[in-house]
Symmetry: C2
Subunit: 415 residues, 2 copies
């Protein structure tokens, strides 16, 4: 058996080395294909998600490596859910994917993962976080993990604490109080391992003997930022470090923006502790809102630029004002259910409402990075009402995903 | 002619001395009666408002001084809007009013007012603030004023800046920035002349050559607090000092709570700059919300007890987070209309929605200060749904108007 021209003998030992469970041959093939897709498509690539959903990852990969035409693909998928992708979009997608379709990168990534003792999780694994389902076609193709993946079960009761790299002493103080208070209340702390608020959140969680999960934008073979290498090592020892991109991937601005959706999706609620007016944390907040996850913001002095983004979230995004660990814990929809019966943890935890899911991503999907499109066209492509599209474009612009040109809206280049 | 046993010769010169316009004999009689009612009924006494509305102030006063029985009053008013007051409530009201029904206090108040150069405004006067109409039966019977009442027209474009007496340097700084910024944008500043935030707001408005209005809880013959005597003198010179209670009235806790409804009602929007968890400013905020007036709260460090009340307003009262004069100006419904056509000021200024008006006051009216009443009974008396009554009682308790006893809810004693 071979997948996309790579023989089973080549990939099977590598795939098994990074799997946490016994695998049959079909599972090995699927894992290899998923690993390949993490090297081919960028995080959140809806078209890749749709294709894998329709054909299964190995078949999807075969089509790509066998040089399928967009029209044939559209025709083949005409009777599946994949009709939401147009022939034009398949053309664009194939153009994006083909330059990366070789197998060498995948084999290298798997080898690196094995060398670093990583695990690769795929949907259906016991440790695969169920929350990823809320991302629908934008879910990660796989997750690369350092640390015990079983600890991801603690995400059923978790809070994302995120914020500015340029944090103030006030912001770090509040973060430390909040993180340790939340750990005491049985919450895991999710963050992005950046300097400032993120680092303070992870550190305080570790100091309180809690579980903390760091979600990175680059490959786990090289911890970023480098100044947090030791911290990330400790998180891997006592918590989990996660990325959806394979080893060897550099963190780019685009990948940071998409990484933020994982932080939001993996947590029961997201809290921004400090953020400048245009902070990347607002992007995480936007993802939380899109996913229908509760969003909190910690107020601060109005004279502090480091709190301006939080106040903006309170004013413009209807974030909940939170001032301590108790109020943050109240945000999490999971908390009250668990309080009644702790034994249900990890099984029947209530899920956040998801009625907002998708509309922002559908708008983003309808914006091209090559051709500016007018709002009317974006509405047509996304199948959403004009005023909703206008609102979502405004938010996407704020979050750094799109920009407005005189001739219309464009997706920001993935830099 | 005489009113309630006082001859026209006695009261007419005094009434005319504190009136700003030519008066006919009927107007003089009405003013005397209204002045009398300010000495007889406490601020916000709905029953007095209903009675005056039904019979006119002089007739209402005649009934009281002639010893009318509650049943007769109920029967006489059976065909008017005054049926919202039950015979039992008339009994209570007459008991409240009778001990104060003598005319000496009224004549003394008018004499004092004339001596201090006050003016007395009544509904229908050119300078009577139209906003008072939103208080319906809880409107003041008259307003006692020091300073040029014509300046009250500036309330068509005004912001109430209120907050803790125990303000911090941060709170005072923000208040000063906000007040002067709002004056620069053409707003009058309304506040309560207390130490702390209130004083800073008045001072900054004066320093910026703006108009500022101080609303006091006691009679204007003695400025309160005494440490602000000079400040209040300057406000009277260049702005307006207002009270609904007559000269000679001491400020009580109850009167402060009711005074706060005037601050809220006289302003296009109310902003709490700093407030402790149980600050009286939350009461003003509650009045603003009840009146459907926009409510803003300035965030501060979560580590500052002086901001805890503001954060509570953001969390529990859906106050808008405001961080500077621009954002505060946006709150005021009047501002945008005026920006388009400044000439319309004072005539067609849009009014805040008033659909919240009354339900909180109706619940308060249905709670007795002598007999504890169960929620079900309060619902019956107020004609409101049970869950609404429960919610309003909770807010009224927070605001210090009612308290819960084992046997039911009671109105707090007027101390």
């Amino acid at each position: 058996m071979s997948v996309a021209g790579v023989s089973e003998a080549q990939f099977a030992p590598l795939v098994r080395a990074v799997a946490g469970e016994e695998l049959d041959r079909a599972q090995v093939a699927e894992r290899f294909a998923r690993a390949a897709w993490t090297t081919i498509a960028e995080p959140g690539d809806r078209d890749a998600g749709v294709l894998m959903e329709a054909l299964g990852p190995p078949e999807a990969l075969e089509r790509l490596t066998n040089g399928v035409e967009a029209d044939d693909l559209a025709a083949e998928l005409a009777d599946t859910a994949a009709t939401e992708v147009t022939a034009d979009q398949w053309t664009d997608a194939l153009k994006r994917w083909r330059p990366r379709a070789g197998s060498a990168a995948t084999l290298l990534a798997l080898r690196q993962a094995a060398r670093f003792g990583m695990r690769m999780l795929v949907p259906g694994d016991a440790d695969w976080p169920a929350q990823m389902g809320d991302l629908e076609a934008h879910a990660p193709f796989a997750l690369w993990v350092r640390g015990d993946p079983a600890r991801l079960a603690s995400l059923e009761r978790s809070i994302a604490l995120v914020g500015a790299r340029a944090a103030t002493g006030y912001g770090e103080h509040v973060t430390i109080e909040a993180a340790s208070g939340l750990v005491d209340r049985g919450f895991a702390i999710v963050s992005g391992a950046a300097y400032g608020i993120d680092g303070a959140a992870h550190r305080a969680a570790l100091a309180s003997q809690g579980i903390t999960v760091a979600v990175l934008a680059g490959g786990l073979d090289r911890f970023y930022p480098s100044g947090h290498e030791q911290l990330l090592g400790r998180i891997a020892d006592r918590g989990v470090v996660v990325a959806e991109v394979p080893p060897g991937t550099t963190p780019t601005k685009w990948r940071f923006l998409l990484r933020n959706r994982l932080i939001a999706a993996l947590s029961c609620a997201t809290v921004v502790v400090e953020a400048g007016w245009r902070s990347g944390s607002l992007n995480t907040a936007g993802h939380a809102a899109t996913l229908g996850r509760p969003l909190g913001a910690v107020p601060g002095p109005v004279t502090s630029a480091a709190s301006a983004g939080c106040h903006r979230l309170l004013r413009e995004f209807a974030a909940t004002c939170v001032t301590n660990a108790d109020e943050i814990a109240e945000l999490a929809p999971v908390a009250s259910g668990l309080a009644e019966d702790d034994a249900t943890r990890g099984s029947t935890a209530p899920r956040a409402p998801t009625d907002l899911t998708g509309s922002r991503l559908r708008v983003l999907d309808a914006v091209s990075d090559r051709t500016p499109r007018r709002v009317e066209r974006v509405a047509q492509l996304s199948g959403l009402a004009l005023d909703r599209v206008r609102a979502e474009l405004g938010l996407l612009e704020l979050e750094g995903f799109v920009l407005e040109r005189p001739s219309g809206w464009m997706r920001r280049k993935q830099d």
